[in-house]
Symmetry: C2
Subunit: 269 residues, 2 copies
């Protein structure tokens, strides 16, 4: 039996992880995800899964596998870009809970191949009403996950997260951090893939647990209002700085899938 290429195995894992995350979030909420397939002009496509429920005002999970040629102006930034041929697959999730007591979260895992190949991704938490024990649990689980693979990962990837999700124009972080990594190519692709899967499993074991502990708490209109204002920072980050967003829009990605991460309701007072 032929061995599946790493990008196919990554894609299969991302789809399976998506199914299990969606099932877990549906159990927390009671609503169901709606799925929409989309094709990309230039090669490949993906599937958006979107749920609007009582707990999750809007949560989107997008799995995509695309291939094509990188626009020339982007090649300088991409390792091994050569003549521009690339393929990429990934999972991307953003959850915007209705209650300000429940933190928003972002997860992304991806495999990119040019003449080189690497993994990237991460997950980070954006609390509105801060519960120190939620943030501590999130960081602690991610640290344990990283430490199972490489003792240098957590210090490096948590610092990278803090640096990446920083709003320079406001001189403030977007949220409470987590981990972020890119160009992960240790030389042992199986070890790298195992780490990426562990991040996925750690997310699945942790975020629903945090939501479960907070989703029934009462909140005030003032707390809700503060959440809507704070969500503006999420929009500012995604449209001003996020490389995934601008890369996706510039390479002809699916607009609805790329901007699915934007919060359902926002205020700039």
């Amino acid at each position: 039996m032929p061995v599946m290429a790493i990008n196919q195995r990554a894609q299969a894992y991302f789809e399976d992880l998506r199914d299990r995350i969606c099932a877990a979030l549906e159990r927390l909420d009671g609503a169901t995800f709606e799925r929409t397939r989309w094709d990309r002009q230039g090669g490949g496509g993906g599937e958006m899964a979107l749920m609007r429920g009582g707990v999750f005002e809007k949560v989107g999970v997008n799995v995509s596998a695309v291939r094509g040629t990188l626009p020339e102006r982007l090649r300088a930034q991409v390792p091994g870009a050569g003549s521009g041929a690339f393929r990429a697959c990934g999972i991307s999730l953003v959850a915007h809970p209705r209650s300000p007591m429940v933190p928003a979260v972002h997860l992304n895992l991806r495999r990119i191949e040019t003449t080189a190949g690497w993994f990237g991704g991460g997950t980070d938490l954006t609390p509105y009403e801060p519960f120190a024990e939620d943030t501590a649990l999130f960081h602690q689980r991610l640290k344990a996950c990283c430490d199972r693979h490489d003792a240098t990962y957590h210090p490096r990837f948590s610092a990278w997260c803090d640096e990446y999700f920083f709003l320079r124009h406001r001189n403030e972080p977007r949220g409470a951090g987590g981990i972020f990594f890119d160009n992960l190519d240790s030389g042992d692709v199986e070890a790298d893939f195992a780490f990426v899967r562990d991040v996925g499993e750690t997310f699945l074991a942790t975020y629903p647990e945090i939501v479960s502990g907070r989703k029934e708490l009462p909140f005030t209109p003032a707390q809700r209002d503060a959440q809507l204002v704070r969500r503006g920072r999420y929009v500012e980050f995604n449209l001003l700085y996020d490389r995934g967003t601008t890369f996706g829009l510039e390479t002809g990605g699916n607009v609805e899938a790329i901007l699915m991460s934007l919060p359902p309701e926002v205020r700039w007072p």
Copy 2:
């Protein structure tokens, strides 16, 4: 008596125009503008005027006069940037009416001086519920204004507006157009300044008239909802594409003043 330099006269005009626009919008609304002065690290500052009323959910008018040194990476884009010294003054207005029957509007007029000097600006309308006669009036008044100065202005500046306020990622225009111009330096600075003043006066004679005719109309929750979604396009444009926004944020402008243009309430459903 010494003759005032053109940049000082432009600044004085922008402040006077601001006062007259604020008075006109206050008469339409019944609420009042609150003004906040701000200083810019590196030189100069400005004054934000913000009104939240019954007719205008949020309307901001910012007048600023700044000077300093352009960051090196921006100099290639700026005529006569030389060693980077610049000064700039301008007026910027964005009005987000509460009713979807009343169009949003944007106005900007500016004078910039490096070793060269030029005017820029424009005004454009973003209707939610389209009234053909409002859009027609807006374009007709701007065309008459342009034609008083140069027969080539209106065709050039209205096409420039359509091109500038275009959301490439959605392949759609932001609104119904208007005029946009930059690097205006005909060789006759008095003529250029007279044109800029005429744009200001045309705005003041036209937009309040449009608001006045629509502000009492009833509207449905579905029309309000469509307005909140459509406002998302405004945010996407300003954060993804607008050179004024990114230039301001990169040159250490006042964040609140720059992002004052963002709508008060937005939905991405």
